[in-house]
């Protein structure tokens, strides 16, 4: 029995065996078949709510009477953008995101470089460093809240002991220290992930290139810039994108630690969205805030793609 493929090359099958039907796994639809469950999930649980959110953002809808919705066009957007409090929320969001991305990647890189060196107990250190990442965000927030508790928290005891104590010890109750405290907790949770990812990237740096650079007389910094950085740059770019999106969306940690307070000092976009939806019960305004978040995320994603392409073409070093 002979099967002739499109290339014209004859293919023989062993004699005596019955002809098999082509396996569905070999068809051109196979990739779509495998993608279908995920695509369906995204369609039902993300795309449909997103479309609903877009619609809601142009309506005045109260949480208590969601069926009595009223089309108000751009009113919600006009209202939030004319509110100075929202400008402050945007600023806090930007500060929060940039700090999280820069410090988490910086700290992760530092730790990854250390863990990439050979030393005794390296395996244990590599395992331990992942612990904060393994802990759920809610647990991390509760641990941090207890550590920062004004009366019983270990952080206050330590700060008092070294003469840096906050008056009254109310770090999370202080509009000056609450944001740094929330940032420190977020970064503590994030940097293990960045360090693990960067460690794996560092391990793909060809050792002979490093050695060649050293032989050529390059110092540590020059070797890092010329060799290591060039290899891990795409990973750092991907991490920066992921961290940005995650930080924009981070809710539970901030909510549990400060609920966006005091006096809005830690109020990011998602906290504002939640407050509008469930405290003020204004679903329309909440949806408008959500749309702002979506647009920022899209800008970040498109921007990162453009930068990545420019880097590939060699326009940007």
């Amino acid at each position: 029995m002979t099967v002739v493929e499109q290339t014209g090359v004859p293919k023989t099958t062993p004699p005596g065996r019955p002809r098999r039907r082509p396996s569905p796994l070999g068809s051109k639809w196979t990739p779509y078949l495998f993608l279908a469950p995920a695509a369906l999930f995204i369609l039902v649980f993300q795309a449909v709510p997103l479309v609903q959110e877009v619609y809601l953002s142009f309506t005045r809808t109260r949480l208590l009477n969601p069926t009595r919705s009223e089309w108000v066009g751009l009113d919600n957007f006009n209202r939030i953008f004319s509110d100075p409090e929202f400008h402050r929320t945007l600023l806090i969001t930007v500060v929060y995101v940039i700090t999280c991305v820069v410090v988490a990647i910086g700290a992760g890189l530092g730790v990854a470089l250390l863990l990439n060196k050979k030393f005794r107990g390296r395996g244990v250190a590599r395992a331990l460093v992942t612990v904060p990442w393994a802990a759920p965000g809610i647990a991390v927030a509760l641990i941090a809240t207890w550590m920062l508790n004004a009366q019983y928290g270990i952080v206050n005891r330590f700060l008092d002991a070294v003469g840096l104590g906050v008056p009254g010890g109310a770090i999370l109750d202080s509009s000056r220290y609450a944001l740094p405290a929330v940032l420190a907790t977020t970064i503590w949770q994030l940097f293990p992930f960045t360090s693990v990812v960067l460690l794996s990237a560092l391990q793909s740096v060809p050792q002979d290139l490093n050695e060649a650079a050293t032989v050529d007389g390059a110092g540590r910094w020059a070797t890092f810039r010329a060799v290591t950085w060039q290899v891990i740059k795409p990973t750092v770019g991907l991490l920066a994108l992921l961290m940005t999106i995650w930080s924009l969306r981070r809710f539970e940690l901030i909510w549990l630690m400060t609920k966006g307070g005091p006096v809005g000092a830690t109020e990011t976009l998602v906290i504002d969205l939640y407050s509008q939806a469930f405290d003020s019960k204004e679903l329309g305004s909440a949806a408008a805030i959500g749309m702002v978040g979506v647009v920022i995320s899209l800008i970040v994603i498109i921007g990162s793609r453009l930068v990545a392409r420019a880097v590939e073409k060699g326009d940007v070093r």
Binding site: L64, N149, A150, G168, I171, D173, S174, G261, D279, K281
Partner: protein, 415 residues
Amino acid sequence: MGNQRARFGIARATCALGLVATLLTGCGSDGDSGDGVTKLTFAASTFGDPGRGPLLTKWLDEFNQSQTKVQVSAAAVPYPTFGQTVLTQMGSGKGPDLVRFDMPEFEAASDAGLVAPLDKVIDAGKYDLLKQPDQFMVHDGVRHGVIFEASNYAMFYNADLIPTPPTTYEQFTSTAKSLTKGDVFGLAFRQTEAEEAGVWQDIFNYVYGFGGAWSDGKNLTINSPENLKGLQAFKDLYDANVIPRGADAATFRRMFAEGKVGMELNNGGYVTATRGQNAKLNFTVAPIPFPVRKQGAILAPIVINEASEGKDEAGTFIKWALEPQNQVKLQEILGASSVATTTQRSAESLKATPFLPVFDGLTETSLPQIVLGFEAKTPDIRKVVVQNVVAALQGKADLKSALDRAQQQATELVR
């Protein structure tokens, strides 16, 4: 080949049956037991109280044992998220059949038409309802709730630290200051934005205790001179460092139970909780020593969800709860709180808690923590006021500017 096909067929049929069975199980309602018994849920944050929750559940069990057609089960939703959780459910046409609300959420739900009228369910004239709290259960002649718990605010003090309670505001502040040493604080109150509803309850006593009010019934009076005076007293105590700053209610209540806080203003429901934390604590209560004898009260109505399919059965429960012997039992569970009807304290209760008459004596001067005339907007006004008061505590604005700002923002909200 044929066998293989048959195996695939069996596998496909099994999967399909499994799927159908799963879907049927998932869609099935647990509201009907199928034997003619209507199952209702009763949501209350107090079911989660370590002291009172188990006793309230037993009280529900007594109802269930007395019935053949209705069964009520407890749904404990934590206090901090109770309002938004239940209101969100009710807004979408679902939620528990019976709800024990706090007043701001009760007013919001009632205004939105989410609460069933009770006039046809109970004959109010049949019961000896407490007039002062009960008047707030009726809106425009329509009864929307019945008092489940009415709890007046008084001053709790640690009798080992304070042998004679202060009777004037000056004595109150000097006692708080003199007690504050090391890890002992003279006073405690909520002052963080994270506890917005609690801060509102606490500052309510200062505003009303200094002759203020949030409105005159028609207009908001957030920045009135009396309110400024009351809230300045609150801020002065905060600035004097006589409170454990940053401590949430759970923390400072534990400190009170441990004898590390001298005084706090709280409601009758707190008596059982304090004893639950430390049965040996020597504490007692006195009226709040502010210039005007007016203070807040936790009024917690029980309501029937308009979306409930078992309104009549829910009414059966409310009528059972209003029966004199069940009111007495409920009052015993709630401790120093009052219930819907006038009940007599037993000799045993008075012996165990001699200060119960102090709470009872405050009923006529207690007010629910809502903005009169703007009841349904109370949660929104509360948010604005608390944010601005916390801003003043944080030194972001002076108190008068903060109140002016709150007045302006809240007025825009209710316009």
